[in-house]
């Protein structure tokens, strides 16, 4: 065979060679076995953890947000609903032909194919192509046989009533969190309980069923909220506010209509407003604020009825009490004066104080609380009424985001407290929000019960449990029922005297209409007041045998001449009063 045949027999023996070869095979198999022992037994924990890390997914299943509805006359209509919109994303790794896919996407959802193409070429695994695409478009995209694009469901709030009651509602941001208004205040209740998913899934994240490690908790939808708001009224109030502001050459303002017997808000309008479905287009963040609850102001003379109510309730004055009004009071270094049309010094009654809107009169009322002068006793007594009877200086607790407390000066600590307190008697040097004023007035004229102002009529949970919100009594002794009745008469008197100025018809006695104007000075930043800028306010009520609606009007810096309260705010009050009588069945007096 070969030259070295005899010497090399063993080496070239095929049987021997196959045995050597076989031994080598066994050796390799043993190495493999050892390696498997190492991987599966020694390193088992490590790889088990690595497997779990990849396979076990944990995430929240979003719950459906509760819808918001309201009364529209006697029917219930939706204000805020949910709709499924979709975010379209691409995984560039799987897109073979970006040009073609981009063209298809542009054909279905519109937009620029070049932009989509550029996004499909990014060095990422998740590139968002478009947001808020509609279901039809999503379905068309699903039909495309294109690997690498997908859609993700994004629940979106929609507003069948457009921008109606926008600030009251607030909006839901892109993270699903309620912002401003009701959405913020009731975020938890509306949000519901997100479901939990902890599951071994396939590589695409779809849970594999029947695995003992899986935990699945279904999401609980948020509560369905029904508002106390009457949308028919809200619509008209918003219209009246807008035209009233236009007439007064004012850029902004607010109106509240409240049921004084329950504290339920029936309408709450602000201007300017916005469209909550396009909240991201709003440039000035202040627009989101519900000024009725978030923006306190020095209320001006609409405070005087409350000062009077406090003095009457303390018994330091009576409705028949008269006094000599010097038309100016010197308090410390400062002097309290009246407006020019006050008629000068003379003998005045409590009714005169309101009808003529006497600052000196309000100061005199405060003096009576201190036994004849503005002193600590007077301050403490008036502070007690402002804070603990009328609930100023603290949040009312209405279901709104960013509610402001307003400020009431401390009666004991500080400098120049006497003049400061004299000012608060006619609504300067303190601040309150319109909702605080509405609630306080309601208490004063409903017999003396302070109801917590509220917007929610009832809430229905996902398991159909309905909880109707009962009016919540904060205090039953704001003023006595006798004083309450006296205050109604006093405020009716103001309207009887000034109806023409306010733009009302001469009261014929069939309806009870009372009110008070306010022309509030505006503080400058850094101290003092503007000489030419005022806020116009009006606080009043309308009803029959008893007041049915309390109305607060606020007009910021009207551009027309004259007293802002009477010229700018009162006409809005008058229009609303007429509207309520004609459209909302205000019961006439017997």
């Amino acid at each position: 065979m070969t030259p070295n045949n005899s010497g090399d027999t063993s080496k070239s023996n095929p049987i021997l060679r196959i045995q050597i070869w076989y031994a080598l095979l066994i050796f390799v198999v043993i190495i493999f076995g050892t390696r498997l022992f190492y991987l599966q037994i020694i390193q088992h924990e490590y790889y088990s953890k690595a497997a779990r890390a990849g396979q076990l997914k944990q995430y929240e299943i979003p719950s459906e947000r509760g819808v918001i509805e309201a009364y529209d006359g006697s029917s219930i209509v939706p204000l805020v609903l949910n709709e499924k919109r979709y975010t379209l994303f691409a995984d560039p790794k799987y897109i073979k032909d970006p040009r073609k896919v981009a063209d298809e996407v542009a054909r279905i959802i519109g937009g620029d194919a070049n932009t989509y193409e550029a996004k499909m070429k990014l060095d990422t695994r998740y590139s968002i192509l478009a947001k808020k695409i509609e279901k039809k478009q999503k379905e068309a995209l699903d039909k495309l046989d294109s690997k690498g694009i997908g859609t993700r469901e994004e629940p979106t709030r929609i507003y069948p009533q457009g921008d109606l009651a926008a600030q009251l509602l607030g909006f839901v941001d892109n993270e699903g969190v309620g912002k401003y208004g009701l959405e913020q205040a009731l975020n938890k209740q509306l949000q519901g309980q997100p479901g939990q998913l902890r599951a071994i899934t396939d590589a695409q994240g779809v849970p594999l069923v029947a695995n003992k490690d899986n935990i699945v908790q279904s999401p609980k939808s948020g509560d369905r909220i029904r508002l106390t708001i009457d949308l028919a009224m809200q619509r008209q109030v918003e219209d009246i506010l807008k035209s009233g502001l236009d007439a007064a050459k004012s850029k902004s303002g607010s109106v509240i209509v409240m049921d004084p017997k329950t504290g339920a808000v029936k309408a709450m309008a602000n201007y300017p407003t916005y469209n909550p479905s396009e909240f991201y287009k709003v440039e000035d963040g202040n627009t989101f604020n519900n000024a009725s609850v978030s923006s306190p102001l020095e209320v001006g003379s609409i405070m005087k009825p409350l000062t009077a109510a406090a003095a009457l309730d303390q018994g330091v004055v009576g409705t028949n009490t008269t006094y000599f009004d010097p038309s100016r009071y010197k308090i410390g270094d400062a002097t309290v004066t009246n407006i020019e049309e006050d008629g000068g010094a003379g003998t005045r009654s409590v009714a005169d104080i309101l009808e003529l809107s006497l600052n000196t009169g309000a100061t005199w009322l405060l003096m009576q609380m201190g036994g004849g002068e503005v002193n600590q006793k007077a301050r403490v007594a008036w502070h007690e009424y402002m804070v603990n009877h009328f609930q100023f200086g603290k949040q009312t607790g209405i279901e709104q985001g960013y509610e402001s407390e307003g400020t009431i000066p401390d009666p004991i600590k500080g400098f120049g407290l006497n003049i400061q307190y004299a000012n608060t008697a006619f609504g300067q040097g303190m601040t309150a929000t319109p909702i605080q004023m509405a609630s306080a007035l309601s208490a004063v004229i409903n017999g003396g019960t302070y109801y917590r102002p509220h917007l929610v009529d009832r809430a229905t949970s996902s398991d159909s449990k309905e909880s109707i919100k009962k009016p919540e009594v904060v205090s039953r002794s704001v003023v006595s029922s006798k004083v309450s009745g006296e205050m109604i008469t006093l405020m009716e008197g103001v309207v009887k005297k000034n109806y023409a100025l306010y733009g009302l018809d001469k009261p014929d006695g069939s309806y009870s209409i009372g009110g008070k104007t306010g022309t509030a000075e505006i503080t400058k930043q850094g101290g003092g007041y503007y000489e030419d800028k005022f806020n116009g306010t009006f606080m009043g009520f309308v009803g029959g045998d008893s007041p049915e609606y309390v109305i607060i009007v606020r007009v910021n810096e009207p551009g027309i001449k004259g007293y802002a309260g009477a010229k700018a705010a009162a006409p809005i009050f008058s229009s609303i009063t007429r509207m309520l009588i004609s459209s909302f069945n205000v019961t006439p007096r017997n």
Partner: protein, 413 residues
């Protein structure tokens, strides 16, 4: 009536005919069954990934097994020596298949490996392996008979040419380093057993090493695979993904495994779960105990082949079985080695277990060839060298040598 003829044939060839190796057959059936069970168990996951019905994979695997049984039935009936006549036709068919794959095949990652034939995908490399071992068995037994096994011109040169052709066709055009490795292993093993001097084998080994290095460095995805192999955890998210997921599957199996229906890695995590990666899936499901049993079955199977080699009736038969053993064992080890991080990923199937028709059909065909050979035992196992001498004497009377098999072949076909 046939017995007498057989006995005559056996006596004439210094062989004894007996029952074929049913244990070998049993081992193959066991391995095939294990593969089918694993494919069945991971069908839900696979079908979801590919968006096909749950029965799709099991159905195709059953079809492949049926085709395999047909292939086995045919090859196990073909008299061994008849394969000599099929050398050339097989080589031509393999060549034609390679050309067809290049022309009509599907291009995946710059490689041409597959061709669609009537709804079935056909992998040319599997046919080439089979043709190669048939050719080599004939070639080497002839050279031994001629005493030219160490002759450069007559033995080494053709082998180097064959190697070059494989290098171009399989490694370069089909870009299939795994199959190339198996073919080289088949050649090396057969040549080694044939008695080619070790120096020559070492020289060829050097050439292969250089060629492999060049191939790896010339293709970017191979560079990545190699770098990944050197450091698998380097990038588990991209190039090392499959290697990492394979290790996770194997390692998380533990001692007893997660259970047949419990594994998770087949649900889209481990690529090629039914094909190249099926060992890792098996390891995840059945743990170290299952893997030990599986390796034991493979080892028993290889041992049966080795035994058949040792008592093979003639050197041609022996080389055939050596080729089959080399094929099965290297393919098994390359596949498993990649799954346990000892070898780079190659993309070849695990014999009997992996889902995949072409591979299965040619493997069962090769087992059929071995099964036929297992019917015979040389009388002079103890002194095979003598037998070789006798074969060499027979060269002078080739007609008689070949003619001796004719009665046998008639009787068994």
């Amino acid at each position: 009536m046939q017995t007498s003829r057989r006995r005559v044939a056996a006596v004439e060839n210094n062989n004894r005919k007996h029952k074929p190796d049913y244990v070998l057959l049993l081992l193959c059936i066991l391995l095939l069954s294990i593969g089918l069970i694993v494919v069945y168990a991971i069908s839900p996951g696979l079908s979801k990934q590919r968006n096909v019905s749950e029965n799709y994979f099991v159905g195709k695997q059953l079809t492949a097994i049926a085709l395999g049984i047909i292939a086995f039935t045919i090859t196990s009936q073909i008299p061994t020596q008849l394969w000599r006549k099929m050398e050339k036709p097989l080589l031509y068919i393999a060549g034609a298949a390679s050309v067809a794959v290049r022309l009509f095949g599907e291009r995946v990652n710059g490689a041409y490996r597959w061709i669609q034939v009537g709804g079935l995908s056909f992998q040319a490399a599997e046919l080439i392996k089979f043709a190669l071992l048939i050719w080599l068995a004939g070639f080497l037994s002839n050279r031994i008979r001629e005493g030219q096994i160490a002759n450069f011109e007559k033995t080494l040169k053709p082998l180097l040419i064959a190697l070059a052709i494989i290098g171009v066709v399989v490694a370069k055009v089909q870009s299939d380093l795994g199959s190339t490795g198996v073919m080289v292993a088949i050649m090396a093993s057969m040549v080694y057993v044939a008695g080619l001097p070790l120096k020559r084998i070492a020289m060829i080994g050097g050439i292969i090493a250089i060629g492999t290095t060049l191939l790896i460095s010339s293709t970017s995805y191979r560079r990545d695979r190699f770098a990944t192999f050197m450091n698998p955890s380097r990038d588990c998210q991209t190039t090392g993904y499959q290697a990492c997921q394979a290790l996770i599957a194997v390692g998380s199996g533990g001692v007893v495994g997660l259970g047949l229906g419990k594994g998770v890695q087949a649900y889209g995590y481990l690529p090629e779960a039914a094909n190249d990666s099926i060992f890792a899936i098996f390891a995840e499901k059945f743990g170290f105990i299952g893997v030990t049993i599986l390796l034991g079955l493979f080892l028993a199977f290889f041992t049966r082949l080795k035994n058949i080699i040792e008592r093979a009736p003639d050197s041609y038969s022996r080389f055939l079985v050596v080729g089959v053993l080399a094929w099965m064992s290297t393919q098994t080890l390359i596949n498993i080695g990649a799954m346990i991080g000892l070898l780079p990923l190659k993309g070849i199937t695990l014999p009997f277990i992996s889902y995949g028709g072409t591979s299965l059909v040619f493997i069962t065909a090769a087992i059929g060839v071995v099964f036929q050979i297992s019917r015979y035992t040389s009388y002079s196992i103890s002194n095979i060298q003598d037998a070789e001498e006798k074969h060499r004497e027979n060269i002078t009377d080739g007609r008689r040598f070949r003619g001796a098999y004719r009665p046998g072949s008639r009787s068994s076909s």
